[in-house]
Structure formats: structure tokens, C-alpha cells
């Protein structure tokens, strides 16, 4: 299954890239895709995305296409889906 992962804000800085194409065996879940990219990149991206129990860090936002999704009830992914991982930013 071909998928695209986009990174925004500090997540992009930690990943070192704005987006990447990923190919995984289907069917694939949002959780498995995030764990895959976290393991692939390692530090400093992995601890920003995943907590010590293997769950998504509470500060991270996920979007499938143009719609926000929650980690706990994320839908199954389809071929060519685009998942965006975003960290909150502030002002000053």
C-alpha cells in the first residue's frame, strides 16, 4: 500500500523532511504507519511522536487528507492516503 506522510512545524524539523512516500503491507492502520515512521527516523522524531507506552504524544495532531482524526478511533488507511502529522505552535 502506497501512502504519503507529511510533517509540519517542529515535527517537520525533527524529521528533517516535509513529506515522504511510504510503502507498507496492507491493510494498514494510522497507528502502524506512525510507529513505522517513528522507528524509521528514530531520534529526535520518535520521542516527539510516541510516548513510553507506544501511544501518540497527546500534543500531536493528525489529519487524514483535510480532516482531523483522533489516534484512538482513526480509520483504516486506503491506498494513496495522505497523513499529516502536526505539532502545535504558538506566537510571540
Amino acid at each position: 500500500m502506497k501512502l504519503t506522510v507529511e510533517y509540519e512545524a517542529q515535527v517537520k524539523k525533527a524529521a528533517g523532511i516535509a513529506s515522504e512516500d511510504v510503502e507498507l503491507d496492507g491493510p494498514c492502520t494510522v497507528q502502524s504507519l506512525i510507529v513505522h515512521v517513528a522507528e524509521k527516523h528514530g531520534d529526535p522524531l520518535k520521542p516527539i511522536l510516541i510516548d513510553s507506552e507506544g501511544n501518540l504524544q497527546k500534543s500531536i495532531l493528525l489529519f487524514l487528507g483535510d480532516r482531523q482524526i483522533h489516534w484512538d478511533d482513526a480509520p483504516e488507511l486506503s491506498e494513496h492516503d495522505v497523513l499529516t502529522i502536526l505539532s502545535p505552535i504558538s506566537g510571540g
Binding site: 509540519e8 517542529q10 497527546k58 502536526l86 502545535p88 505552535i89 506566537g91
Partner: protein, 259 residues
């Protein structure tokens, strides 16, 4: 005609105001009624740094009636790449004095209520209570959370704008209608640092968009970013508008949606 109810009761214009705002009164759907809404409105902006300076300046130019501005500290060299209400001749002097002076130079009719302090749990209720709408330009999430809680308690719209590097995010919150800040950001993001890379043109871009959102909400025109987050990356000029979700267990706003 307005596209949704205006936020405030308008105040009639005088001839000088009609002349000053003539070009925006021509905007479709806005008209003199929209300008009267702006004149009757008050907006809290905290803080007046890279984001807040531009929001305040645009709203002052647009003829808002009253700005409540809060910003602590003295002007530093490192403010001057983006905090457009600060000036070189005011280095070492209180930022809030520079803010008030610059706003009144632009619009002497504007009422400015200024506080030489930043938003906190202690002053949030008082500051939010003085405005019809809030534009959140604070750098720290504890300031943002304090404003969000009061905005929900006092049922006031709050525009959340933010920037980092060459990216920016913005959404407009209406308590009981859209996700609140605590729905979107349930925790203080550990990766967020007080000092971060940014151009003034990035904070200025999202500051102008925030001012436009405030004008739309106050006057009832257009489609504000309700339950939508606009994320932009000026490095490659990507703009994306995405749907955002309420947290049905949000400790701040979920009671507003209880059946």
C-alpha cells in the same frame, strides 16, 4: 447585507469616519453597517509582539472602537525584526508605551486600554471581560490556556494564531460552536520553546489574517475559520484549510455541548 449575525451593536459614524473608511465600506456585504459594528467593538490582544503588533495595527487602521492590549517588558533589539509596534528609539523602554503611541499615531480616535503585563490566570478574567472578542497572540501555552478558559466562561470568540519558522496556523473559536483551544491542544506541547526561529513577514502574514478574521466575526461577513485550521508554509507557499474536531471530554468546553 451581513452573512451571519454581527457580534456587537454598532455606533453611528461621523463624516470624518465615513471619509477615512470609504474604501472598505465599499466592500461587498460590509457597508456602513459593518463599519459601525467595528466602531462599536472592543478587542483584546495579548501580547503585542510579532503577531499582536500586526493584528492591533490592522484593527486600528480598520476603525475598531477599542483595543485592550497587554504586553510586559521593555523593547529589546531582538524584538525589532517582527514586533512592528516597537521602535528603535524606544529600546530599553516599556513595550506597551510604544504600542499605545504607535496605535494612537495611526488612529487618534481609537480607545486604547493598555496593560504592562502579560495574560495570566490572575488577570485573564478581568482582561477578557473588557472585550467583545480576543485575539490570542501569546507565546506561551499557559497564557493561551488561561485566555481560552475565560473565553469559554464568558462566551466570547477567540482567534488563535501562531507561527514558527516559515509556518503559521490559525483558527477561530466560538464557545459552544467550535472546538476550543483545549480540544485542539489538550496539553502544553513539551517541544514548544519560548524562543524560536521566525521572520517578521511570517508573523505579519498570519497577523493580517487574524485581523481579517476579527473583522469578519465582528461585522458578520464572510466565512470565519470556524472548526477549521488554516495551516500555511511560506517556504513553498502551501496553504491548507482542514477540519478540526471537538474533544467530547474536553474539561473546558464539553459542558456547552451536553444534551
Amino acid at each position: 447585507m451581513a452573512e451571519h449575525p454581527s457580534l456587537t451593536t454598532g455606533k453611528p459614524l461621523n463624516d470624518e469616519e465615513r471619509a477615512t473608511y470609504e474604501w472598505q465600506i465599499w466592500v461587498s456585504g460590509f457597508g456602513e453597517v459593518g463599519q459601525e459594528s467595528l466602531k462599536g467593538a472592543s478587542v483584546l490582544i495579548s501580547r503585542c509582539g510579532g503577531l499582536g503588533s500586526v493584528v492591533a495595527y490592522e484593527l486600528a487602521a480598520a476603525g475598531i472602537g477599542k483595543l485592550v492590549v497587554a504586553h510586559a517588558g521593555n523593547v529589546k533589539h531582538s524584538d525589532l525584526n517582527r514586533q512592528l509596534l516597537m521602535t528603535h528609539d524606544w529600546l530599553g523602554k516599556p513595550r506597551i508605551e510604544s504600542v499605545e503611541r504607535r496605535l494612537k499615531e495611526l488612529n487618534p480616535r481609537l480607545e486604547v486600554v493598555s496593560y504592562a503585563e502579560n495574560i495570566s490566570e490572575e488577570n485573564a478574567a478581568c482582561l477578557v471581560g473588557q472585550a467583545d472578542l480576543i485575539v490570542d497572540c501569546a507565546p506561551l501555552f499557559n497564557e493561551r490556556f488561561a485566555m481560552n478558559r475565560q473565553a469559554v466562561l464568558q462566551n466570547k470568540p477567540i482567534i488563535e494564531c501562531a507561527m514558527f519558522d516559515m509556518e503559521a496556523q490559525i483558527t477561530t473559536i466560538v464557545p459552544g460552536k467550535t472546538p476550543c483551544l483545549a480540544c485542539i491542544n489538550p496539553v502544553d506541547p513539551p517541544q514548544w520553546k519560548r524562543e524560536f526561529p521566525v521572520f517578521g513577514a511570517v508573523s505579519g502574514t498570519v497577523g493580517c489574517i487574524a485581523a481579517m478574521e476579527a473583522i469578519k466575526v465582528i461585522s458578520g461577513i464572510g466565512e470565519p475559520l470556524y472548526s477549521k485550521m488554516l495551516a500555511m508554509d511560506l517556504r513553498d507557499m502551501t496553504f491548507r484549510k482542514r477540519s478540526i474536531l471537538r474533544n467530547e471530554e474536553c474539561p473546558v468546553c464539553s459542558h456547552l455541548f451536553a444534551k
